[in-house]
């Protein structure tokens, strides 16, 4: 794991450590009310929408490993692998903008295909 320190990275890592510890309340304390997140399925706007996006993911999370973390004063990139109930290796990458100690923007990349395959295998409708 590669890691540097920076003001933005401190927040990004505190956020990462909170949600990977299943503490979504703590995680959301690092997220701005007006967060904008460009996720694979589209844009999420506002903390309630963002929390609604993260909640089912955190519920099925069984493990995580930090791959790399870099940042500067305002921007941080965190890459990690996660283990979830339906998908054993689900890596993700986030590039966040931090303003006044809160994440105001996130570009979030992960592969939806194995989650979609697991959903279809379980016979569940598209969410």
């Amino acid at each position: 794991m590669t890691e540097t320190t920076s003001p933005a990275l401190d927040i990004a890592l505190a956020y990462y450590r909170a949600w990977t510890s299943h503490d979504l309340d703590q995680a959301m304390s690092y997220v701005a009310d007006e967060i904008v997140c460009d996720a694979p399925a589209g844009r999420l706007q506002g903390a309630p929408a963002y929390r609604g996006f993260m909640t089912p993911f955190v519920q099925m999370l069984t493990g995580s490993t930090l791959i790399a973390a870099f940042g500067d004063d305002t921007t941080a990139v965190v890459m990690y692998d996660t283990e979830t109930v339906p998908v054993k290796s689900a890596p993700g990458a986030e590039c966040v903008t931090v303003t006044d100690g809160k994440i105001t923007y996130s570009r979030f990349i992960f592969d939806r295909l194995p989650f979609e395959a697991a959903r279809q295998a379980a016979g569940r409708p598209a969410s």
Copy 2:
């Protein structure tokens, strides 16, 4: 776009600039013969396999924008958005290890789902 400089990042960015300019020969000059790449579909081993993976992607690439780039002596993370013929916004993130000026390892994240959807819409068999 956020960018720092580092020995590993110099190589990662030179590689990025080459493949996004459709110059795969130049891009491969930054890739070690024994590269290992953990991509969404699984592990690729060796430069020929890696080039075989990149070739169809570069052929359908119509544009790219660097989102963030950070690195240190041995590791770099590059996040970007790409525009391709089948998928108008296909962001990706790579975390690369650089040894003796060549990329020896890459962890590569992108969302395969829109490419799969485009493939199905076009009635093409799974590749």
